[in-house]
Amino acid sequence: MYPANYLFTDEHEWLDVDGLEGVCGITDFAAEQLGDIVFVELPEPGDTFSKGETFGTIESVKAVSDLYMPVDGEILAINEDLENSPELVNSSPHEDGWMIKIAIKDESQLEELMNSKTYEKFVEDQKE
């Protein structure tokens, strides 16, 4: 269910790594928990964040949540479609609903993230 080549955080962000760049969004589980997304606030390209820092916020009809950086890095691009179509996060959380493209600063941090199997188990545990 979760793309096999993606990496995951325990705050339910995914990271699709390609060399020293990565695309990041939130998982299908997180999107479903939040319910219908009505607003996504993203940073400016060029901003830099450390791992675990808040890079943006996401608002659903139920709640507002922070979005956390999966690794240290600089924002290369943001998904501008989310401004007018935040529902993409619900309809296609792992693809069209991507949020930011990151220049990964420290490759070794990738080892701290979960693979899809571990994340799937993590989600199952959370459900209980």
Partner: protein, 494 residues
């Protein structure tokens, strides 16, 4: 249990849609001066082009319109209003009598002291009463609401630390704190650092220890926290924060669980804010305004906002506009004065025994609901709770009924829903706070309604998932309302 299921609720158009050309609610005498032409007397850039767009209606149209839509409303004068964390107490009518006394209601802040003594004395005495209740050295009545009180509290801490040589950088906030705490810290220029609660729903001392360093300006602790759990380690927590030179701010929004029983000022807390519109029975929400006094320990007293109320040797009250170290003014004039009259009335009506008793009733009421409903609803934290209880929708979710459906179904059964989906650390939270205002009969009615919903969830879930059935409007399209809101009425184009 409520007897009927339908009231006199009828559809009502917008007031703009009721507009009839020429209808008006006033009549003016005949013009007896030459008519002025606006185009000649007013600069063109200020002149409106086109219609003003206000509805044309008569007085009786307006009265009936607002009376009709007011019948769709729910209020604390109507029934149980168990919004957790909000403390929707009944607002005793004696508060309205005292606050309308002409000496209070017609007072003006620019009146000379000689004719303001009564109003000043009330503020002076209220400060003293709140000092006694909280165990602190000084209270500022200025802040206009709870979050304003938080902000003022954090400003006091910042100024104090600046005087010590370093304002520091971080403020620690447990994830069970009130949602406004991180914002107050951030506005004061601090980085808010979240601390996770332990499995008992309390602040973990080891996590606190790990987070404490010389950059920590303060810990903002909501006690009892938003899970309704009393942070029993409060003394130890204060000692630990003080050891690294930090201050402890206690969010006193839940003081209605402690009033007359526990004095935060005696447990090591440095600053506390109170919500008069929660703990001290003054109107809440749209009926406000609020009032968020700040109580402080001795070392912070010189910094409280100005003007401060003092009494001279002759027993006369006056305002000191120039206390040397004050952080300055935090609002115009002197607090939401009419609210202070109401809160002081509540304190005097209850007396010290009465205040304690009201706390005991608030805690007993919440625990009665907890006990009666724990067979039907999941209790995510086992720890004993004070004035509010948090259930989750874990049991009902299996039948496809979620917290939102439970809340909507409660409307059909005549009750205002509890706070839902807060605190965020509980999945599908239902946060119930009955307050001391409710009788056993009223609580039993609510409990019966909640049990009925739990049974429906299992046997006829659509009754919940399609609720509300009896209200004027059913489920609102919240998603469209949030994504593409229509904020302004426009006449249909001809």
């Amino acid at each position: 249990m409520i007897k009927g299921m339908r009231g006199l609720s009828f559809k009502e158009d917008l007031i703009f849609e009721k507009s009839r050309e020429g209808a008006k609610g006033y009549s003016l005498p005949k013009l007896d001066v030459p008519k002025a032409d606006p185009a000649k007397t007013i600069d063109k850039k200020f002149l409106r082009e086109g219609k003003i767009g206000l509805p044309e209606v008569s007085e009786v149209d307006v009265i009936r319109h607002f009376t009709k839509i007011s019948l769709w409303n729910y209020a604390v004068d109507y029934g149980l209003y168990p919004l957790g964390s909000c403390t929707m107490k009944y607002n005793p009518k004696i508060n309205e009598i005292t606050s309308s006394l002409p000496g209070f209601a017609d007072a003006h802040p620019y009146q000379p002291y000689s004719i303001s003594q009564g109003a000043l004395e009330l503020m002076y005495n209220l400060e003293k009463a709140l000092m006694e209740i909280t165990g602190f050295s000084r209270v500022s009545l200025h802040p206009a609401a709870g979050a304003h009180g938080e902000l003022v509290g954090m400003m006091l801490i910042r100024r104090y630390l600046e005087d010590q040589g370093n304002p520091r950088k971080k403020v620690l906030i447990p994830d069970s704190a009130h949602g406004t705490n991180p914002a107050s810290a951030a506005i004061c220029g601090y980085e808010a650092v979240e601390l996770k609660s332990n499995s008992e729903g309390m602040l973990s001392l080891s996590d606190l220890e790990a987070a404490l360093d010389k950059d920590v300006a303060a810990l903002m602790l909501t006690n009892p926290n938003t899970l309704g759990v009393f942070e029993k380690n409060i003394k130890k927590i204060c000692e630990m924060v003080h050891k690294v030179g930090g201050q402890v701010y206690m969010d006193g929004a839940n003081m209605n669980a402690l009033m007359g029983i526990m004095k935060p000022g005696k447990s090591g807390v440095d600053v506390l804010h109170l919500n008069l519109h929660k703990t001290f029975s003054t109107p809440h929400g749209g009926g406000g305004p609020g009032s968020g006094p700040v109580a402080v320990a001795k070392h912070l007293a010189p910094y409280i906002p100005k003007p401060v109320i003092e009494k001279n040797d002759k027993g006369e009250f006056y305002l000191d506009y120039n206390p040397e170290k004050s952080i300055g003014r935090v609002r115009s004039f002197n607090s939401n004065f009419a609210i202070l009259v109401r809160a002081y009335t509540y304190i005097l009506s209850c007396g010290s025994d009465g205040l304690k008793e009201s706390t005991e009733h608030a805690v007993a009421n919440a625990n009665y609901i907890r006990k009666k409903l724990s067979k039907y609803y999941d209790l995510p934290y086992e720890t004993s709770t004070l004035h509010e209880i948090i259930f989750s929708d874990k049991i009902q979710e299996k039948f496809g009924v979620t917290t939102k459906d439970i809340a909507k179904r409660l409307l059909d059964l005549g009750y205002h829903p509890p706070t839902i989906y807060f605190p965020l650390i509980v999945h599908g939270a239902l946060m119930i706070e009955p307050t001391e205002s409710e009788s056993k009969q009223e609580l039993d009615g609510f409990i019966e309604a909640m049990i009925q919903i739990a049974q429906e969830a299992e046997k006829e879930p659509e009754k919940c998932t399609e609720a509300p059935h009896n209200t004027v409007v059913g489920r609102l399209d919240e998603v469209t309302a949030a994504r593409t809101p229509i904020l302004k009425w426009e006449p249909e184009k001809e």
